[in-house]
């Protein structure tokens, strides 16, 4: 047994399997960052820091000595708590297929969105610099006219090409912008979504937590999400009516090539 303490929960193996399955289905759609950046690991819950390969000078302990200290990026832990009704779990054991797992759904969305925000916009408290914070190119303003998005995305792609950053490229798009892009057609009837995909050569990703949009190169090795413990389902406590569970992960994120992305602001 590990620190997730699953065997202490009043949950049968079949119910755990059902909960795992439900989370897997619900959490994949909003996990936008993992669809666009490299994923390294999982390296285990014990993995505590990412090696940055750099040092900082420190005072040497005596004459004739030189000293440096290795620099690392500590992994951050993210956890989203939720409860499941014990009566729902009992109904599952009776064969019920329509479990009320709304709190699980909300927790999955919270932790996925937090991961997206950390990757794309940063998480200062955890020492994570996001893609839009690190990007060296000038942000491009999207404006309100969705029909003009292809022009702005093409400009972003041109900026990346000019910097020697090859494609294909992907687009992380906040939920509002995503819906508008799917619904809008340009003059001539071309759907904006299809036009953007032609420009990018890669996916357009629905990205809860992203403000505006971000164009990134998908060539690899530019952005690394390093996982310690990948998203896992653990047990906290229970009472007569509910079981308290949580989703948890540990990770760091670093931008290796700040010129491999362009931010598009609202």
């Amino acid at each position: 047994m590990n620190h997730l303490l699953r065997s202490h929960a009043p949950i049968t193996d079949d119910a755990w399997a059902e909960l795992d399955r439900e989370v897997q289905q619900r959490i994949v759609p909003p996990l936008a960052a993992r669809k666009l950046v490299d994923f390294a690991g999982p390296k285990g819950w014990e993995h505590s820091a990412t090696n940055l390969g750099r040092v900082s000078p420190v005072d040497a302990p005596g004459d004739g000595l030189f000293a440096h200290q290795r620099r690392v990026l500590p992994l951050a832990e993210l956890r989203a708590d939720f409860t499941v009704s014990r009566s729902e779990l009992l109904d599952f054991s009776r064969g019920a297929a329509d479990l009320d797992l709304g709190a699980l759904d909300a927790a999955a969305r919270r932790i996925a969105e937090a991961e997206n925000v950390a990757v794309f916009h940063g998480w200062a408290a955890a020492g994570i610099v996001g893609i839009t914070e690190a990007a060296t190119s000038e942000p491009i303003e999207l404006g309100a006219d969705v029909a003009k998005y292809p022009r702005h995305v093409a400009k972003a792609v041109e900026t990346l090409l000019s910097a020697g950053i090859s494609g294909p490229y992907g687009l992380a798009l906040g939920p509002e912008g995503y819906t508008e892009v799917v619904e809008t057609t340009e003059h001539g009837g071309l759907i904006v979504f299809d036009h953007l995909r032609e420009i990018l050569g890669g996916p357009i990703v629905w990205a809860p937590g992203v403000v505006g949009a971000v164009v990134v190169s998908l060539r690899g090795d530019d952005f690394v999400l390093e996982s310690g413990q990948d998203l896992s389902l653990g047990y906290d406590h229970h009472d007569a009516s509910t079981v308290s569970l949580y989703l948890e992960e540990s990770f760091s994120f670093r931008v290796v090539s700040p010129d491999a992305a362009v931010a598009l602001t609202p």
């Binding site: 959490i27 666009l36 994923f39 999982p42 285990g44």
Partner: protein, 126 residues
């Protein structure tokens, strides 16, 4: 003809990640099969110079297999957990299994039970 003749389900029902893992599984199978063939040829030949070349080539196949296995480990948290439990250990393998199943594993890495196996989604994006 499919890119790989070993798919057992219709390709349009398989995710890109599953198909990539299939490619890796087949590659490992081919590399170890080649190492086995070389092993036998090294034993069989009476020419020492040829035996040395075949042994060299055989060992390269092992390197190829190890590279693909590492790629698979990075894609699959469950495989990762098992490899961390069993590899680079010195106890009898069956004793490690007993300890792992009783929750007292002392292998090289973490316990991944409870992990949802999400990992990278980069290849899955539409």
């Amino acid at each position: 003809m499919a890119q790989s003749a070993g798919l057992h389900e219709p390709e349009d029902r398989l995710s890109p990640a599953t198909i990539d893992r299939h490619r890796a599984f087949v590659s490992i199978q081919e590399e170890f099969e080649a190492a086995d063939w070389y092993d036998q040829r090294v034993d069989a030949t009476t020419n020492p110079e040829l035996a040395a070349i075949l042994a060299h080539n055989r060992d390269e196949e092992k390197e190829h297999a190890a590279m693909v296995l590492e790629w698979l480990r990075r894609q699959d948290p469950v495989l990762d957990g098992h490899l961390r439990t069993y590899l680079f250990s010195s106890e009898p393998v069956t004793e490690i299994e007993t300890e792992a199943e009783s929750g007292n594993a002392t292998g090289a890495g973490g316990d991944f039970s409870g992990a949802l196996g999400i990992g990278s989604l980069k290849a899955v994006a539409p």
